[in-house]
């Protein structure tokens, strides 16, 4: 299914002009339909209501055969004549109108730009349509699921985050970019990584190593790890944004590269891995094209404290929130019946502390690039 869609897209990407317009047409039609429904119910003197697919854990299910998170069919109502939802209703309609303008004009805006585009004071009051960007961000996510359109299709992008370097050449909006020659900074992964924007040209890498944050990535880059091990090195600044996730997925799916993750040994690191592998709860509708069910968790492992002989100083005590979160993660259905993972979380809890990837620096500055990761790769030692 997923495969089919990408192939289709790739064919359309050959003629970018009319193809973009046809997806845009569909988006515009969907927005029209949404507004039209509001108008028709209003004129029929019925309560205007917006039905939004629910983006909660309870409406997220783990598809065992596809090994990804999927959104269920539950919806939530957003009636106009309800104090709790009236404002949100207004914002939704307002942003729909904004998106329509944007798509109609064939331009793209950042989330921040969308916020400003729909921001004004309501006539006759001192109230603003939007209090801050978080409000418009949330409404835009609602719009995505309501319209069944991706954020890219709404011509909205997020601030770019995440970096890439390695044995690959890509075409970004027509510009050829050689990721082997990106210096110390690396290639900034854009927010929109669809094949209409980015195409892979020449890839020699054998695998992708994704690390949690920029500091670790710098270590690997300085040690020219990607050159020695012939790989692509990515980083997602914590929870990877959609652009990074889409890029990883495409590298995995289109080029068949395995993805290994080097993350902190704490509940947040575990969840980052979970998001890369199965998709996130909030964006479960995007799992189809973002999740990498074959991604592997390389470390840091709870046993590394003993295995690598780390000093006491690297321990960061687990606080109450960490413990609750760890237990929550252990209970997620996609972790629940994986014994190694249950043991891993159990071990971390019994340790009573978490560890960052940087803790390996206590052994040696380049311990992580020269010993730790190569050893894991050789031993094929990872969690799935």
């Amino acid at each position: 299914m997923a495969k089919k869609r990408t192939t289709k897209k790739r064919t359309t990407s050959k003629g970018p002009g009319p193809a973009v317009r046809s997806t845009d047409k569909a988006t515009l039609a969907r927005i029209d339909k949404l507004a039209d429904k509001v108008v028709r119910t209003s004129l029929a003197k019925k309560d205007p209501n917006l039905v939004i697919p629910s983006r909660s854990l309870s409406n997220t299910s783990y598809n065992k055969s596809k090994r990804i998170l999927q959104m269920g069919s539950a919806t939530s109502d957003r009636p106009l004549f309800d104090l709790k939802t009236a404002r949100k209703f207004m914002q939704t309609v307002l942003l729909s109108s904004g998106v329509k303008d944007l798509v109609g004009a064939g331009k793209t805006l950042s989330l921040r730009g969308m916020y400003y585009m729909s921001l004004h004071t309501i006539q006759g009051t001192k109230e603003k349509t939007l209090n801050d960007q978080t409000e418009s961000d949330a409404v835009l996510e609602d719009l995505e699921v309501m319209l069944g359109s991706l954020r890219e299709e709404l011509h909205v992008f997020a601030k770019k985050r995440g970096t890439m370097i390695g044995n690959i050449t890509i075409i970004d909006n027509g510009d050829e970019i050689n990721c082997r020659k990106m210096g110390t900074g690396g290639y900034a992964i854009p927010s929109i990584c669809e094949d209409s924007v980015i195409q892979f040209k020449n890839c020699e890498a054998d695998f992708v190593l994704h690390v949690e944050k920029d500091t670790v990535w710098q270590r690997f880059n300085e040690d020219r790890f990607w050159e020695k091990h012939n790989c692509i090195l990515t980083e997602g600044s914590g929870q990877p944004p959609r652009g990074v996730r889409r890029m990883l997925r495409r590298l995995n799916e289109e080029l068949g590269l395995p993805v290994y993750c080097l993350l902190d040994c704490d509940p947040w690191g575990h969840y980052i891995y979970s998001v890369i592998k199965q998709g996130s709860i909030a964006l479960a509708y995007e799992s189809q094209r973002m999740a990498i069910p074959d991604a592997k968790f390389m470390g840091i492992r709870a046993i590394d404290y003993e295995r690598c002989g780390l000093s006491d100083d690297v321990q960061i005590a687990l606080n109450d929130r960490d413990i609750t979160r760890a237990k929550q993660i252990a209970d997620y259905p996609w972790f629940a019946n994986k014994k190694p993972w249950q043991l891993e979380i159990k071990k971390m809890l019994s340790n009573g502390f978490k560890m960052e990837v940087e803790s390996l620096i206590t052994k040696d500055i380049s311990y992580v690039t020269e010993v730790y990761v190569p050893e894991r790769l050789d031993a094929q030692d990872w969690l799935d």
Binding site: A35, L43, V93, G124
Partner: protein, 633 residues
């Protein structure tokens, strides 16, 4: 020393003692103990003097079937001293016949009200003569009374000086004063002038407050008050409380003692004084609610018959009769001896006196303490011009007379405190008065109000009385609670509407931009919907300020007044108001179209009226019709 003295002491003999023993006149007793009558200090004395005179004037007017028109004037007499005042009380009552003047104004414990069982303001016959006595003691000036009994007879001026040792008055001067006829426009009335030492204050427990409270409790009277000059008002002030109810309260009937209300000594005294010869006649004539069957039972129990001779009853037999009487199951005393204010009068009085947003009133059915019937009435006024965020004020009345002193000793005050006001949406600190812009009014009407002292300041604490008070307060409280909840709900609806309408503009604009729909049309449709969703908010905007929806309990309640949105009040608000209830300003019907202000002070566009003026006029008529049927019920 002590020993020396005892030896020196000359023992008094019975004879020598007898020489100095003599009768003490009541007036002498009260002259020494004037605090018992409310003349403890100059400030209170001034109030008490006014109060006693006004009470008498009101009683006289009502008995004479005249709508009271009372003038209270306190004139400062700076030439005689800073603390000298002349108190003038004038009424339009039937006047006093010449030969009774010195008895009424000069004798303590003289009056028509003490011996009968009938509700009236005065009880003991002490008040006005005590005021005159106080004036005489403090200033040496006699009391001046001008009375006119009929248009044909000239006014009569009598100047009285009280002789405390003999408890009677000496007439200093007695002249006909045809030139004073002008004082009495209606051809009859009484004017009393007392010069006394006093102190004039305003505020709590002042004469001003007394007049205001009296006007609240007696809306059938017109009160005019001329105050002495104060620092704030060097010219003095003229305050007039116009009459707002055009009919006199029902005249109470006199009743006979109730068998449960007497004591043994009283019974023996009654047996001695009765004109009846036989026991049966004695019981049926001297008591109320004692029929032949009960008389038979009681006499039988005492080993007598209804034909036994009253003269032959021994003390032991009397005691048996007394026991039988107190044990007998008899009906409660008749209540026609009481003239409670009634819900409508209370509403009127509180409304014109305080101008609140909401009033609830309740008048309990008659009840009995110690064989004496009484009625408790309560009223609650809320909001409007009343000061907020303060403790509630308790207005206490006994037989329509305001009680201003000794609040915490009064059973009505205790009843207010022990009522759980929190249940009705008000704050109440533990063991205290409720807090809010609230006035609580309690009225006890009885043939004999059990005061804690002669100065009539606090009602004694009988369980029966306190219970009735509590029930009356709870009844009002529930209505207030309903009103407050309703008001809150309306406020919420108003806010909801505000929210909805605010967003509707944005929504219709956005929809217009997306689909090209007519923006104005969509806006109007949505606005209509928003208004119907918050329809409750509109209820207050109806002509009468009442909720017209049939399902609303408060709207149908006659014991409730809610200030209407339109400014002027008129009798159409009162379902059971008589047609000619007041000669005062009935606003022209056109006023209904005046712009309205709703409860929250937001000015509202004048709403299109559903009823034409004609219909409103019709409605008033219909309502008055209903009132007459109600009255006959």
């Amino acid at each position: 020393m002590a020993k020396k003295k005892t030896t020196k002491r000359k023992a008094a003999t019975a004879e020598s003692m007898a020489a100095s023993q003599r009768e003490i006149s009541v007036s002498e007793f009260f002259a020494k103990n004037r605090h018992l009558l409310g003349f403890d200090n100059p400030r209170k004395a001034l109030l008490t003097a006014v109060k006693e005179a006004v009470d008498n004037a009101l009683d006289a007017c009502e008995e004479g079937g005249i709508l009271p028109d009372i003038l209270v004037e306190i004139r400062a007499l700076p030439e005689s001293g800073d603390d000298r005042f002349l108190v003038v009380i004038q009424d339009n009552g039937p006047g006093i016949v010449r030969k009774q003047i010195e008895n009424i104004f000069g004798k303590l414990l003289y009056g028509s009200k003490f011996h009968r069982l009938k509700m009236s303001r005065g009880q003991q016959g002490i008040g006005i003569s005590a005021a005159g006595m106080y004036g005489l003691i403090t200033t040496g000036k006699p009391v001046r009374i001008i009375s006119k009994t009929s248009p044909k007879k000239p006014a009569h001026e009598v100047i009285l000086k009280m002789d405390t040792s003999k408890n009677r008055a000496d007439v200093v001067q007695d002249t006909e004063h045809p030139e004073d006829d002008g004082l009495f426009a209606e051809g009859h009335g009484t004017r009393v002038e007392i010069e006394l030492v006093g102190k004039y204050f305003i505020g709590n427990r002042s004469v001003d407050e007394y007049v205001q409270l009296t006007a609240i409790a007696n809306p059938h009277g017109r009160f005019e008050f001329l105050s002495p000059p104060t620092n704030a008002k060097p010219e003095g002030e003229r305050i007039v409380y116009e009459r707002s109810v055009g009919e006199l309260p029902d005249l109470p009937e006199e009743i006979k003692p109730h068998p449960h209300g007497i004591e043994l000594g009283t019974l023996i005294g009654m047996l001695e004084r009765t004109s009846q010869n036989q026991l049966g006649g004695f019981f049926s004539h001297e008591f109320c609610r004692v029929g032949p069957k009960i008389a038979q039972d009681v006499t039988k129990q005492a080993g007598l018959t209804t034909r036994s001779w009253v003269k032959n009853i021994s003390h032991a037999e009397a005691e048996k009769l007394y026991k039988g009487l107190t044990a007998a199951k008899v009906m409660g005393p008749p209540t026609n001896c009481l003239s409670p204010m009634g819900v409508r009068t209370m509403l009127k009085g509180l409304e014109s006196g305080l101008n609140p947003d909401f009033i609830a009133a309740s008048s309990r059915a008659a009840s009995v303490y110690r064989g004496r019937p009484f009625v408790i009435e309560a009223g609650i006024a809320f909001g409007g011009n009343l000061p907020g965020d303060d403790q509630a004020k308790v207005y206490r009345f006994a037989n329509r007379v305001p009680l201003q002193y000794q609040q915490s000793a009064c059973s009505s005050f205790k009843a207010v405190i022990e009522t759980a006001w929190k249940n009705y949406g008000l704050q109440q600190p533990r063991g205290g008065l409720p807090v809010g812009s609230l006035v609580v009014m309690i009225h006890m009407a009885s043939v004999w109000v059990p005061f804690t002292s002669e100065s009539k300041e606090a009602i004694a604490d009988y369980d029966e009385i306190r219970k009735e008070m509590r029930l009356a307060l709870q009844e009002c409280g529930r209505k207030l609670g309903t009103y407050l909840r309703k008001r809150k709900r309306m406020q919420r609806q108003g806010q909801r509407r505000g929210v909805f309408t605010r967003y509707i503009g944005e929504i219709s604009k956005a929809c217009h931009e997306i689909t090209g729909t007519d923006q104005q049309e969509l806006y109007d449709v949505l606005l209509a919907q928003a208004e119907s969703k918050t329809a409750e908010f509109d209820e207050v905007l109806d002509e009468e300020g009442k909720v017209v929806k049939d399902t609303d309990r408060l709207a149908k309640d006659d014991g409730v007044f809610i200030r209407q949105a339109t400014a002027p009040q008129n009798d159409a608000d009162y379902p059971d108001s008589p047609p000619s209830s007041n000669g005062s300003d009935l606003p022209p019907v056109d006023d209904f179209d005046a712009p309205t202000t709703n409860l929250f002070g937001e000015a509202d566009e004048p709403k299109p009226k559903r009823k034409t003026k004609k219909k409103i006029a019709k409605k008033v008529k219909k309502k008055t019709k209903r009132s007459s049927t109600k009255a006959s019920r």
